[in-house]
Symmetry: C2
Subunit: 335 residues, 2 copies
C-alpha cells in the first residue's frame, strides 16, 4: 500500500493506517499491508482475478450500505477464485473515495463487511490503495492457490456428453432485486424468505467449498454465474467448443422465487435463467463424475443440461424438449 505522489489528504493516509491496523493476517499471507508488495504462499501457481465496482453502475450509495458494498466487492472476486476450483488466499482493495471522502463510520463499515467475509474464508486483506477521486470506485483483486490434489479448472475443458450442473439454487438474487425495487411484492412470501432473497442480492456468498469439491470430483470446466445461466452457459460452451442445452424445468429455484416472480408477472424459470448475480457455480462434469460430485459438494448440486456437438457457444433452452425463445424473456445476447 504505497503512498501516491504526496497527493493524499490526511484522511486518506489515516484510512490506510486504520485498514492496515485492522486487517488480520491469515495463513498463506507471509507479508501483508505495509510494504511495497505483499508476499503470499501459493504453492507454485497463483490464481488471480480483479473486478471493479463503480458507483452508479454496480451500486448506488442510497440503496447499498457500506457494509454490504464491502462484502459484495470481495465476494464477487472470491467467487471467481472458487470458479477455478481454487482456494482464496488474499485480497487487495483499491478504494477511490468520492469528493468529500467517506465518513469514518462508512469506511469502517465497508471494511467490516469485507473483513467478516475474509475471516470466513481464511482470506487476508493484504494490500491495496486509497485515493481521492471523482466518485466511489472499488477495485478488488484476489489471489488464490490450487486446491489440494486438484489442478485449477478452466472454462474450456468441457466436452460433448458432459452434464451441466449448478450448485445451490437460482433466481434468488433476481428475486431479491425485484423486492428491493418493488417492496410491495414482499407480501407474496413470508418475511424471513423475503429477507433471504434480499440478502442473496446484497450479500452473495461465494461457493468456495463447492468449487474445491467440484475440482476434486473431476469437473472439466467451471465458471460462476454472474450474468445468469443463459449468458454464462454460453461462455462455458463457447470456450469448450460445444453447444449447451439447458432444460428449464430442471432448474433449482430458490425458495420464494416462484412466488415473487408470479407477483411480478414474470416467469420464474426465465427469471432464474436470465437473472444475474446468483454467484452459484456452473460445472461441466463427465457422467461418471456426477455421483462423486453429488457426495462431495456441500449443499445442492443439480444437473440442468448438457454439452453437445454443435455450434460452439450456442445455448438452446428447452422446456420438456421444446425450444424456448429467451429473447421474449429479457434475454440479451453476449457479444
Amino acid at each position: 500500500m504505497p503512498a501516491k505522489g504526496g497527493a493524499e489528504a490526511v484522511s486518506e493516509l489515516a484510512l490506510i493506517e486504520r485498514i492496515g491496523a485492522r486487517a488480520r493476517r491469515r495463513p498463506g499471507t507471509e507479508l501483508g499491508i505495509g510494504d511495497d508488495a505483499a508476499l503470499l504462499s501459493v504453492g507454485g501457481t497463483a490464481v488471480v482475478t480483479q473486478d471493479l465496482l463503480a458507483e452508479g453502475v454496480h451500486f448506488r450509495r442510497a440503496t447499498t450500505s457500506p457494509r454490504d458494498l464491502g462484502h459484495k466487492a470481495l465476494a464477487v472476486n472470491l467467487s471467481d477464485i472458487a470458479a477455478m476450483g481454487a482456494e482464496p488466499v488474499a485480497a487487495f482493495v483499491g478504494l477511490c473515495l468520492p469528493p468529500g471522502g467517506l465518513s469514518d463510520d462508512a469506511a469502517d463499515e465497508l471494511y467490516s463487511g469485507m473483513e467478516a467475509l475474509a475471516e470466513r474464508y481464511g482470506v487476508t486483506v493484504a494490500g491495496g490503495d486509497v485515493t481521492g477521486g471523482p466518485a466511489l470506485v472499488l477495485a478488488v483483486a484476489a489471489v488464490g492457490r490450487a486446491g489440494d490434489g486438484a489442478a485449477p479448472v478452466r472454462r474450456s475443458g468441457g466436452r460433448p456428453g458432459d452434464l451441466l450442473c449448478v450448485t445451490g439454487a437460482l433466481g434468488a438474487s433476481a428475486a431479491g432485486l425485484l423486492l428491493l425495487e418493488r417492496p410491495e411484492l414482499a407480501g407474496a412470501v413470508p418475511t424471513p424468505v423475503a429477507e433471504r432473497l434480499r440478502a442473496a442480492h446484497l450479500r452473495p456468498e461465494p461457493r468456495v467449498g463447492a468449487g474445491l469439491a467440484l475440482g476434486r470430483a473431476g469437473a472439466r470446466a467451471m465458471l460462476d454465474l454472474s450474468d445468469g445461466l443463459g449468458l454464462d452457459g454460453g461462455r462455458l460452451a463457447r470456450a469448450s467448443g460445444a453447444r449447451a442445452v439447458i432444460e428449464l424445468d430442471a432448474l433449482p429455484l430458490a425458495e420464494g422465487v416462484a412466488e415473487i416472480a408470479a407477483a411480478a408477472g414474470r416467469d420464474a424459470r426465465l427469471l432464474a435463467v436470465s437473472g444475474g448475480e446468483d454467484y452459484e457455480l456452473l460445472a461441466a462434469l463427465p457422467p461418471a463424475a456426477v455421483e462423486p460430485a453429488h457426495r462431495a459438494v456441500p449443499g445442492r448440486l443439480t444437473p440442468v443440461g448438457r454439452l453437445e456437438e454443435g455450434v460452439p457457444g450456442l445455448v438452446a433452452v428447452e422446456r420438456g424438449g421444446a425450444a424456448v425463445d429467451l429473447a421474449a424473456g429479457g434475454w440479451e445476447h453476449d457479444v
Copy 2:
C-alpha cells in the same frame, strides 16, 4: 475478466475483446485473459501489489496522453515489484471509463503504452475489468515471483550501520514536472535534456533489473522512491527500527536538474530529496555488500546516507555534517 451484471455497454465488451486479442501471453502466465481468473507460475511465493490512478488526482487527461497514462499505470506497479527484489510476471488492469467512454484511439493508445512496457519486462496483461463509471480511474495489480536465488526484500530488514544507496539519479521527475508546468524553463537546458526530464516524469522506468541485482547482492531492506527520499527514507527507517541520515551533497542529480532548479529559483538538492516519482530504488546494504552491489547493479548506485541507532523513522538530512531543515524546502511530514 468476467462480465459485470449485464451492465456493460457494447463498447465496454468490445474493448474487453480488443484487449484480450492484443495482450500477448508471455512466459510465467499459464492462462491469461478470458477465464474467471488467470493462472501464473510464481514458484511458491507470489509478490502482489495494487495501485489506483484517478483522473484529476494523479493525472489530467488534458496533459497526460493515453499512451503515457498506460505506461505509468503499469510502471508504478512494476516498480513496487522491483522494490521487493522480485521479477514481475503479470498485470491486471481495471479500467473505469469516464462518461462517454474513451475513443477507440485513446483506448488503443492506453493499452499500447502498457503493452510496450509489458513487453520490455516479459510481463503479461493477464486480466482485468472494464466498466463505465463517473470518471477515468485505472486500477492496476501486478504479480511477481522471487528472483532466482534471492528471497524477497522487505522494508523492515535494515540495521544500524547499513549504508543507504540509491539507483540511478534523482530529481528528474520533479524537474520534468517543473518543465511541464513552466515551459519557459526549458531554455535552461539543451532540448534533448529537457525531453529526457519530461519523459522521466511522464514515463518512469521501473528498476526491475536493479531490484533483482540488489536482492542478490544482499540488500537488507528496499523500497521504491515514489514520494521522494525524505518521505520514503523515513518509511524504510521506521520499518527497520532505525534512524536515517541522508547526506544532501551525496545525492546523484539527474542531468539538467541543477539548471532547471536554478532557473526556477529552487535548491536542486532539496528538489531531489523531496520531489517524488523518481521510481529509483533505495536500498539498505551492509557495508560488505556495497561493492558486490556496485558490480551487479546495471547503471549507477550511489551511497547517500546510512542507518543509525536512534528514533525509528527519523530522517536527518545533513549538508557537510550540518543539519538541514527540510520544512523550509517544501517538506511534508508523513503521518
